[in-house]
């Protein structure tokens, strides 16, 4: 048992797609990572660096290659099916449509989410107590959603849907919160709102969070730890003190020094 109470340990995680064909790609290459409780990690990297793949492996969407291990709170969950990982992992996707059920109401979506990882039985899915819980979970968002529990999620705007998805991911207080470019599809104003909501929830619930983003500035400004990935490896890992006060240029140099390559992703550099 390590002193540092690692919440999540990744050991020797490798993932190969299209093995044996021309398209074979090493999406993850022997990743080793320790995530501590209450870490707020921002993960950045070029396209194909392996960021989303890493999240998918943690979430159990597909297993790592043999030999890799995923340990959450001391429990080895490697190889378990996705729905079994769900007990430990709350996830918000880039597309608001994936994280919520459009034809069901906000109340029903939250009722689904609150039972994350638990066996479901024949009790009524929603009762007065639960509704109050949903109300108090939605009220701090300041979007008025707590008064619209009977609205169909499909009628909400993307930003509102993403906010609901965020609440759904966290309401059952899972061990880990995974955010996969969750504001990338939103317009700048809404993205900012959702980002601030994320901050608020993460701080309030003291959630251990891993946020993937394309935006270097965001990655620097938010979070208590920054990880940069490249070609399936972690090339930069900065803790709070190390990342404080860094600029984007500093980050780019750090990348080039660690990976020995020039950093030429315009998209990331030009984002404001």
């Amino acid at each position: 048992m390590s002193e540092n109470k690692s919440l999540l340990q990744l050991r020797g995680i490798t993932k190969i797609f299209s093995r044996g064909t021309i398209d074979e790609v090493n999406a993850l290459d022997n990743i080793n990572l320790d995530v501590n409780a209450e870490d707020y990690i921002t993960i950045i990297g070029s396209n194909g660096a392996g960021k989303t793949t890493m999240l998918n492996v943690v979430a159990g969407v597909f297993p790592p290659e043999r030999g890799g291990k995923i340990i959450v709170n001391g429990i080895d969950i490697t190889g378990l099916s996705e729905y079994k990982h769900a007990a430990y992992v709350g996830r918000v996707y880039q597309d608001p449509n994936i994280g919520t059920a459009a034809k069901m109401t906000i109340e029903e979506n939250l009722a689904m989410a609150v039972l994350r990882g638990q066996t479901r039985g024949l009790r009524a899915a929603s009762n007065k107590q639960r509704r109050e819980l949903f109300h108090s979970a939605l009220a701090p968002l300041g979007l008025g959603l707590e008064d619209r529990l009977n609205a169909l999620v499909g009628t909400l705007s993307s930003g509102q849907r993403q906010a609901v998805a965020l609440v759904m991911a966290t309401i059952s207080k899972p061990a880990l919160l995974l955010l996969d470019e969750h504001i990338a599809n939103l317009d700048p104003k809404t993205a900012q709102i959702v980002l601030e909501l994320t901050e608020m929830i993460v701080k309030k619930e003291k959630m251990t969070t891993m946020m993937v983003t394309h935006n270097m500035e965001l990655a620097l400004r938010y979070g208590s730890r920054l990880i940069m990935m490249h070609e399936g490896k972690i090339v930069v890992d900065l803790n709070e003190e190390q990342k404080a006060g860094l600029t984007i240029n500093d980050l780019v140099s750090a990348f080039e020094k660690a990976s020995g390559r020039r950093f030429i992703e315009d998209k990331i550099l030009l984002r404001r």
Binding site: K84, N109, M112, R123
Partner: protein
Amino acid sequence: MLDVVSGILSFSFYEGLVFGLVAIGVYLTLRVLAFPDLTVDGSYTLGGGMAAVLIVAGVHPFLAMLAAIGVGLCAGLVTGLLNTKLRLPALLAGILMMVGLWSVNLRVMGGANVSLLREVTAFDKVAELLGLRSGSIVVSITVALVLAVIVFFVLNWFLRTEIGLSLRACGDNEQMVRSLGVDTDKNILLGCSISNGLVALAGAMVAQGQGFADVGMGIGMIVMGLASVIIGEALFRPRGVARLLVAAVGGAFVYRLFITVALRLGMAPGDLKLITAVLVIIALAIPFIQKKLRREWIPPAVRW
């Protein structure tokens, strides 16, 4: 004239309830689970055949109907297993079950036809209770209505429980449900079982009402169920579980109503099916035409 109309309406009401059960079964798989299940043709006959064989053997008709539900549950379970464990596509699993059940039904019934004319059926029991003749439409409606109401309340409650909610979410967004920790495979098994149990119950009811179970009685049931669900959705535009269940029954009623009307009109026998189809098309075109006349926005076509 009045008794002609009332005759048509009352018979269609009875058929709407009975085939409404089939429609609700189809709704559970097609809409709630987004799983197109063709087992229906087979499980309907299985329910009818099982109930008939048991009644002839002396079992109380109500117990025979419970047994019919039981075999229906099993049939649905097998379809679900073919899909979740063997990874057969849902459509194929249903088709294979439909085909295989034809032979199973012949075995269960010990032949192609089991007569119930000389037996005491649930309809006879209820007729005795009400003091009416057992072929009367009042008796038929009573039996069908009681069963339909029970099914409605049970399903309405069930679909609002934690398990029921996760079944509904499965058809809406299976990916999300998995990431919330639900074993979607189990949901499919549960949904398919319940659905085919209901369909088998309908078969058991119809067999007793029509006086026999026949290996061909289920042919076309899936079409009937699909038509009822889709007509019900188009005409009643229901929102919420309770209304959706009622809409399925309503769709069955409308569909059977048109068949009954077309039949009594006495068209050349071969034209009956065409007339039915035309009447349904007209019924469904009405909301569309209304929208056009009011220059309202018309939503894009759904595929199914």
